[in-house]
């Protein structure tokens, strides 16, 4: 350049450096078509899941039932039936045999209820139950949640955590190795402190991961409202918020470790060898929560272990098994682990970043 050298207005503060790095991480990810498409597909799947679930539970196909003028009123009072009125028993039998209706309700003299149900080859249980007189049942200790809904919620939190953590954990690992492999890292750390570089990468990817989680949550909430599943929404609102908070710190914890693990290798092909243990840590909560979502002891333990707390604590909150102070205590444990992971991660990162070639041994990376 021909203009005289001028010094920069102000030298970069660490905070500025961190933000510049984070901004680049976010920008380069948002410009990747593969990333945008896969995120779009993920959001569509979530939307479809909520909508289909909503419509399916809302409007099951009504059963067609034939009835005579004497019985029509009683049958119409039942939920979810479509009444076809017929003149007499003979007409009703014909419809049943022709599979026009699943059953017919006709008057029966001599029966205590005064009606009889005609069916082809299988007793229509729902109809029988509906027309029977049953004693009143009083549940003394009702189950809080439907076990199926509980299972779905557990899988939901598990899968969102697994996908977001492994996607962005993988992203940060790749980005660390890319810088190492292309030696950009030498330029970067001659300009800014190593810790600022690490912090920027962790923050950038955390912002992306959180944005994806928030989008998913927004889609779920809107979907639940649109399909009128207010009851489920009321139950899941608070657990989702807790999930977001736990995910935030859980992800920072994982991201620091992913960055450190990736810094120990020099080529993209070798990432797997050091990040495999982390992949296990990310997948464990998903499988455990599927197998043990009805085992309070396992869930309780999981809800305090930092790596699985983001999945297990929201599930326990959803089913109402957790006391109000439990998420707070678990969060404190998570935070402490998070800080420890950042310190250890930064040390490994700093010590491994310039060591090219063979994989750096963990002991050496920690000693420096």
């Amino acid at each position: 350049m021909t203009n005289a050298p001028t010094s920069p207005a102000a030298s970069t503060s660490p905070a500025q450096a961190v933000w510049l790095v984070a901004e680049r991480e976010i920008g380069s990810k948002l410009r990747s078509k593969a990333f945008m498409i896969s995120t779009g597909i993920l959001l569509l799947i979530a939307l479809a899941g909520v909508l289909i679930g909503g419509f399916a539970s809302k409007s099951p196909t009504p059963d067609a039932v034939a009835a005579t003028s004497e019985t029509a009123a009683a049958v119409e009072a039942l939920p979810n039936v479509k009444v076809t009125e017929v003149a007499d028993r003979a007409a009703a039998e014909k419809l049943v045999l022709d599979d026009e209706v699943i059953a017919a309700v006709v008057p029966a003299t001599g029966d205590p209820l005064g009606i009889a149900i005609l069916a082809k080859d299988d007793a229509p249980t729902a109809l029988v139950m509906g027309l029977s007189q049953t004693p009143h049942v009083e549940l003394l200790k009702p189950a809080d949640t439907n076990p199926f809904v509980r299972y779905l919620v557990a899988i939901g939190f598990g899968i969102v955590f697994l996908m977001a953590a492994s996607t962005f954990g993988g992203t940060i690992a790749q980005s660390v190795v890319e810088e190492k492999q292309t030696r950009v890292v030498e330029l970067l750390i001659s300009a800014i402190p190593t810790r600022a570089l690490l912090a920027g990468k962790v923050i950038g990817n955390t912002v992306l991961a959180m944005a994806q989680i928030v989008l998913l949550a927004a889609i779920a909430v809107v979907g639940l409202i649109v399909t009128g599943q207010d009851e489920l929404l009321a139950g899941i609102g608070a657990p989702v918020l807790w999930f977001a908070v736990f995910f935030l710190f859980g992800f920072i914890l994982l991201a620091s470790l992913y960055a450190a693990a990736a810094a120990m290798v020099s080529r993209q092909e070798d990432i797997g060898s050091t990040t495999m243990p982390l992949m296990m840590l990310v997948m464990a909560p998903y499988f455990l929560v599927i197998f043990f979502n009805d085992n309070p002891l396992v869930l309780t333990i999981m809800s305090y272990v930092p790596f699985s707390a983001p999945v297990a604590m929201p599930v326990r909150l959803f089913v109402g098994e957790a006391q109000w102070w439990e998420p707070l205590l678990s969060l404190v444990i998570l935070l402490a682990t998070c800080i420890a992971a950042i310190l250890v991660g930064a040390k490994i990162y700093q010590n491994s970043l310039l060591r090219m070639g063979a994989r750096v041994k963990l002991g050496e990376a920690l000693r420096g």
Partner: protein, 298 residues
């Protein structure tokens, strides 16, 4: 000592039992191009990394203008690492702007500087191409832009000329000379001794982790000149063989290359040659950098 004067004193670095740098001491003066030459594994890259603070030395100090180099000082260093590295999927301009901003420039300022510099280096047409789509030579120019964009006071360039065609070498050499004229302290390593010879003001030769020679180019040449002369005459120069104090190195008809034991012998030989007639040339032979290099590292 002027503010941009870089001084290394007693720099030592070992990896395990292997000592790669042993008491390195040299200066890089402002306004001068300092060439840094040495064989493979001599310690050039390690020295440069230590100057940049990318590596820590086991012992010794790096000072700038007399005081220890601080992190803030290093923001005003420009660095070109030996193994080139820029983000392959980032656009050329964006990449250089990013590095300028990491060095503390605002967005607008950084963009203006990066654009001007890339144009000066002949990459004006490729500003919005991804680094990976450039030829190696152009990637090299982008790399140089990355090292220069923040107008560094001290430039540390590891092999800035490797992989460049002769025209590109001239472009880059021109840019470096401009920077030196503006007062930057520039240290560059190279295996291309002819380029170093043509370009550098000062020279440092390193071998086996030790500095074998350091000083200005002329000074080194004088130190290593061996009182060698070349005589070209119309007749036969065979008589030189019997002259006292003369050692003929190479001889072919009317041309002889010979060493003398002193300046007075050289004068006497010249007088004799003129008396015999037909002298067309009598020149003192300065050792080339390659010769000095071989001599010092031997």
């Amino acid at each position: 000592m002027s503010s941009g004067h870089l001084h290394l004193e007693g720099i030592t670095k070992s990896y395990g039992a292997r000592t790669v740098l042993d008491g390195i001491r040299f200066d890089v003066a402002p306004g001068r191009l300092t060439g840094f030459v040495g064989g493979n594994g001599a310690g050039k890259t390690t020295t440069m990394r230590i100057i940049l603070g990318v590596l820590a030395a086991d012992a010794g100090t790096v000072t700038l203008g007399g005081s220890a180099v601080s992190t803030a000082d290093r923001r005003r260093f420009g660095y070109m690492p030996e193994e080139r590295g820029l983000y392959p999927k980032m656009k050329v301009l964006e990449q250089v702007v990013y590095l300028a901003r990491l060095h503390g420039f605002g967005k607008t300022d950084a963009t203006a500087r990066a654009t001007a510099l890339l144009e000066e280096l002949g990459l004006g047409e490729r500003l919005n191409d991804n680094i990976e789509s450039l030829s190696l030579g152009n990637q090299q120019r982008a790399q140089i832009a990355a090292a220069l964009v923040h107008d560094p006071e001290v430039l540390i360039l590891d092999e800035p000329f490797s992989g460049l065609d002769p025209l590109a070498v001239d472009v880059v050499a021109g840019v470096l000379q401009t920077r030196a004229a503006q007062g930057a302290s520039i240290l560059f390593s190279s295996h291309q001794l002819d380029v170093v010879e043509r370009l550098c003001d000062d020279l440092i030769i390193i071998a086996g982790g030790e500095i074998r020679a350091a000083g200005s180019r002329e000074q080194l040449r004088e130190q290593h000149s061996s009182l060698r002369y070349r005589l070209t005459t119309a007749g036969d120069a065979g008589w030189l063989r019997s002259e006292p104090g003369v050692q003929v190195v190479d001889f072919e008809g009317g041309t002889a290359l010979f060493d003398v034991d002193g300046a007075h012998t050289a004068e006497r030989v010249l007088r004799d040659a003129v008396a015999r007639g037909g002298v067309t040339g009598f020149t003192p032979q300065h050792p080339s950098l390659a010769q000095i290099f071989k001599e010092v590292i031997a």
